[in-house]
């Protein structure tokens, strides 16, 4: 499906939600309970913008579509949003809040803190972050770049992990 078709189909379904989302006091209760809810919401909003328009909304959600097959891949075409790389890029940006292209130790620590918070002590978190970076960091700069991120997750089955069926 091309992007236009996709957004056309989305229209009916998501208009209501989009209305909700465009309101300034955007609150979905479950998201407040979600440890990385804030980051995901932030991921929807393009940088330095307060309001979300529909195409951007759809563009983000497009990351979660199942990976398409049998599509003729034109090298010159930019990376599809729902390709494996596109999905990984989205995930990467959840960590990399300052958009410098690398996940630093601090950023990883923040995510870990959010997800593991209560049961684990600060030092343990720190050492987990250390170890994680150590495993993934190939060029030894103490941070994880997007390529290293991609490489460390090459064995993960993205199809099951990051797909939602929006359209029947």
């Amino acid at each position: 499906l091309s992007f236009l078709e996709c957004s056309w189909r989305f229209c009916g379904r998501f208009k209501a939600l989009w209305m909700k989302a465009a309101l300034p006091d955007f609150k979905i209760r479950e998201l407040t309970e979600n440890p990385i809810g804030g980051r995901i919401i932030a991921a929807f909003f393009p940088p330095e913008k307060e309001r979300l328009d529909f195409p951007s909304f759809v563009r983000i959600l497009a990351h979660f579509r199942p990976i398409g097959k049998n599509r003729s891949r034109d090298r010159a075409q930019p990376e599809q949003a729902n390709s494996r790389t596109g999905k990984l890029k989205f995930a990467f940006e959840l960590y990399d809040q300052d958009r410098d292209g690398k996940i630093s130790r601090e950023e990883l620590l923040q995510v870990l803190r959010a997800m593991l918070g209560l049961q684990v002590t600060e030092e343990q978190l720190r050492s987990i972050a250390e170890r994680a970076i150590q495993e993934a960091d190939l060029d030894g700069d103490g941070a994880i770049s997007f390529d290293e991120f991609k490489k460390s997750l090459e064995k993960v089955d993205m199809e099951h992990k990051m797909n939602i069926r929006f359209l029947k």
Binding site: A21, T121, I164
Partner: protein, 831 residues
């Protein structure tokens, strides 16, 4: 060469068989003999042949042994087993054994009886598969599994029965006295995919997880349908065609729901019972595993008793309880359960296949009807494929990741029938079903066809079709973290888009679970350490620690002294500017290893010591077996420790006194002087290296076989060497060497007072006070286990630096252990 080996084994096996066959003959003769000899007892017999007394258990034991021997012979050659699956070879071995017995007895004395099969051989396999079921995968695909199990099995049964009946009407099978109902009965028993066969064949072909769980889950869950269909049609056959009306059919349908859901619920009840039991078994950890097996077996039998689906009951029992049990139980119990279950399941599987082979060699049951048999084979094969394709097509529209065509092919091909069908066939009543023997023969042929031929073809087909294979790899930490992030992400997006999806349910279940289930079913201590990412981290650290120690032992002790940097290639590059904050809280193994890794690259010695101390703390805490020191089941090595402790204490006290007196210039006892020369020699070799090496030496020095004085002395020698390496404070480090073993620590204790007198220059700055000796006492007081050994080393070294905080820190630990070892309380640290 290989042939000779095999010939030898075969001779052994045949000898074994003759041994077991001849007792049968002897038994027949003896029973006659006994009846005669009873009447005229002439005198006391010194040795008598009491075959009757041990007959039943003896035969069982011999058969188990024979089956295992068959497996041994089969697995001897890997070339054969990679082409032909083991189950097929076991069946062939069964043919051979059956032939031998047939030749000896002219009747088949041993065969796979339904009672033995359903009550003894099948339960272990099912309990094992339930307990080791990958829950997440199972429940994600539960919809597809259920559809295939229920609808697929019904489809198979119905089509097969109807087709065969149609063919009979058409005259393809000659003259047979089988009614439609009997055909349906036959169809129902042969339609079900068999879990034993699926496991046996698929374990060699590592297909991808989803495919495997679909076929395997289907084979387990279709038991609910099989039981119902079989009972219903059996009842119908008994009633006769005339009495079947709508009521009966409705009753049949209702019984399906009762049997299936009842079985599952019963299984869950037993699972929860198991969880409660393991929650409370803190004091009897030694037989904790026993509970699992008994309750699992009871769940099977109870379901059988209530005519519910026993397999479903077992499976759900295992599925429900595995997480909580693994969290509640001791590590050792978890391992025990895992391995014993594997042994039982594997053994049962072996026996099932061998006996299937044996049961086939029986002239009395064979009735050959070419049409019937060939048509059955054909229909089974064809309808399976048709069924799979028909069912997967609507499923794919609802699945997240649709099932590919090739995967569907393998699913169809993997519809293996097995011993369950045979058991059900034998259970049929001959009076009701005149052609029972024909059906049994057909079932046997179908089973052999699927297991042997489809088993052999499975691997080539999978390779030829390029089916996606399973990827086995250890999870790295970042993958684990990322998986968690993905989960949260999916939940969030589902929330945003308002969908009630899979992840929504999973999230809700997780919350429910955390709130209620864990509180009820898990031990409080287990609840705290539940986080996945942390446990992966912990596992990785443990793995690193073990690698570290084995690397140390392998490299040899001297190497450590010389190349302490290079020998640690297992570590990756150091962190840049990472802080090292030693913390002594309990579950902090993580920090220590990381610290250790940094220090390996030559940071300040302070951090060295912290790291080693913490590393050894961690390793120490990882071990729990010493808790059973006072139980009935500990190994003999523990008893030595107790004696050693006492000897130790006595000699230490003596030495302490003599040391004090020696300080005041009195002569030393002669025994001490014997060793001093050795020490002096070793002392001369300077080797001003890093402290790190000392610990490594000790780590290397604690081999599991402490025998004889030589070991101690060499240890002492090395430690003397290394002792000279450090800047100062050697004295307290010496007793460490003493501590590194079980035998004759008293000897090493002698060194204590010696060193200060003999090596003045090193000791100039040393603090020769009771504090120096005390740590050794305390250290040696600890049980000389492999991990405990390591532990002793650090406190001593830290004390040489005599930073009070560490000494203080050490003491509470020692005091904790005091009650276990009635030792004299350690002397207070130096002020």
């Amino acid at each position: 060469m290989g042939l000779h080996r095999h010939a030898g084994l075969w001779l052994l096996v045949s000898a074994m068989l003759l041994c077991c066959v001849s007792p049968l003959k002897a038994e027949l003769k003896n029973s006659q003999h006994d009846s005669h000899s009873n009447s005229n007892i002439t005198g006391i017999s010194i040795v008598s042949f009491k075959w009757e007394h041990v007959k039943a258990p003896y035969i069982v034991a011999v058969w188990v042994l024979v089956c295992f021997l068959c497996k041994l012979v089969i697995e001897a050659n890997h070339h054969v087993t990679s082409i032909i699956p083991e189950s097929a070879l076991l069946i062939c071995a069964g043919f051979i054994l059956g032939g031998i017995i047939w030749g000896a007895d002219h009747q088949q004395t041993f065969s796979l009886t339904p009672v033995v099969f359903f009550y003894y051989l099948l339960p272990p396999i099912i309990v094992d598969s339930g307990y080791h079921m990958p829950n997440k995968l199972f429940f994600s695909n539960l919809g597809a599994i259920l559809v295939h199990a229920i609808i697929g099995t019904c489809w198979n049964a119905a089509t097969l029965g109807l087709s065969l009946w149609g063919c009979q009407k058409g005259g393809a099978m000659g003259d047979l006295d089988i009614g439609l109902l009997q055909y349906l009965l036959f169809g129902s028993l042969i339609a079900a995919v068999d879990p034993v066969a699926v496991l046996a064949v698929f374990e060699q072909v590592h297909v991808n997880d989803v495919l495997f769980i679909l076929v395997f889950g289907e084979s387990l869950l279709n038991d609910g349908v099989t039981v119902v269909l079989f009972n219903v049609f059996d009842a119908f056959v008994t009633l006769g065609g005339a009495q079947i009306d709508a009521v009966e059919i409705i009753k049949g349908i209702i019984s399906f729901f009762v049997v299936a859901f009842g079985g599952s619920l019963l299984g869950m009840v037993f699972g929860i019972l198991m969880c409660f039991l393991t929650r409370c078994t803190k004091n009897i950890e030694i037989i904790e595993p026993g509970f699992i097996f008994v309750v699992g077996y009871l769940s099977y039998l109870t379901a059988e008793m209530l005519s519910l689906s026993a397999i479903l009951s077992c499976v759900f029992c295992g599925v429900c309880c595995q997480k909580y049990i693994n969290a509640n139980m001791n590590e050792n119990s978890v391992k025990t359960v895992k391995y014993v279950m594997k042994v039982l399941a594997n053994g049962s599987e072996t026996m099932i296949f061998v006996f299937l082979g044996i049961s086939a060699i029986d002239k009395t049951i064979w009735v050959w009807n070419t049409g019937f048999i060939l048509l059955t084979l054909l229909f089974i094969f064809v309808y399976r494929f048709i069924g799979v394709f028909l069912l997967t097509w609507p499923l794919n529209r609802y699945r997240l990741v649709p099932l590919e065509f090739i995967d569907q092919l393998i699913m169809g091909f993997g519809g293996l029938r097995g011993a369950v069908a045979y058991g059900l066939a034998v259970m049929m009543d001959e009076k009701k079903i005149k052609e029972k023997n024909l059906m049994v023969s057909t079932t046997l042929i179908v089973v052999f066809f699927t297991v042997i031929i489809q088993g052999i073809l499975m691997k080539p087909v999978v390779t030829w079709l390029k089916v996606k294979r399973a990827t086995l790899h250890d999870l790295t930490l970042i993958e684990k973290v990322q998986n968690r992030v993905f989960e949260h992400m999916l939940v969030a997006v589902e929330d945003i888009s308002g969908q009630i999806g899979h992840n929504y349910f999973r999230d809700k279940w997780k919350n429910f679970e955390e709130k209620w289930m864990m509180w009820m079913l898990m031990k409080p201590s287990a609840r705290k350490t539940q986080d996945h990412v942390f446990s992966v981290f912990h596992q990785l650290n443990l793995k690193d620690a073990v690698e570290y120690v084995t690397e140390g032992e392998r490299s040899g002790s001297l190497e450590f002294i010389r190349n302490d940097i290079t020998s640690f290639r297992i570590w990756t590059e150091p962190e840049v500017g990472a802080e090292c904050s030693p913390c002594r809280r309990d579950p902090v193994p993580s920090v220590s290893l990381e610290m250790h890794e940094q220090t390996m690259n030559g940071l300040r010695e302070m951090e060295d010591l912290n790291s080693h101390h913490l590393l050894q703390e961690h390793l120490y805490k990882g071990r729990k077996q010493h808790r059973h020191r006072f139980s009935r089941n500990h190994l003999s090595i523990n008893t030595d420790e107790d004696e050693v402790q006492e000897i130790f204490q006595r000699t230490m006290r003596k030495r302490l006194e003599s040391f004090k007196s020696a300080k005041m210039g009195m002569a030393l006892p002669k025994t001490i002087s014997k060793h001093t020369k050795k020490e002096q020699q070793k002392v001369r070799t300077p080797n001003g290296k890093n402290r790190i090496s000392v610990d490594e030496v000790r780590l290397a020095m604690t081999p599991p076989s402490p025998t004889g004085l030589e070991v101690m002395q060499t240890q002492a020698g090395f430690n003397m060497t290394s002792a000279t390496l450090g800047s100062h404070g050697n004295t307290p480090s010496l007793p460490v060497s003493v501590a590194g073993g079980i035998e004759n620590p008293a000897f090493m204790a002698d060194l204590d007072p010696v060193v200060p007198l003999q090596i003045p220059p090193w000791l100039a700055e040393a603090e020769l006070d009771s504090g120096g000796v005390a740590p050794s006492q305390r250290a040696q007081a600890r049980p000389p286990l492999t991990a405990g050994d390591l532990r002793r080393l650090a406190p001593l070294r830290i004390s040489t630096q005599s930073t009070d905080s560490f000494m203080m820190a050490d003491i509470p630990d020692a005091e904790q252990r005091r009650d276990s070892f009635d030792l004299p309380p350690p002397p207070p640290p130096p002020p």
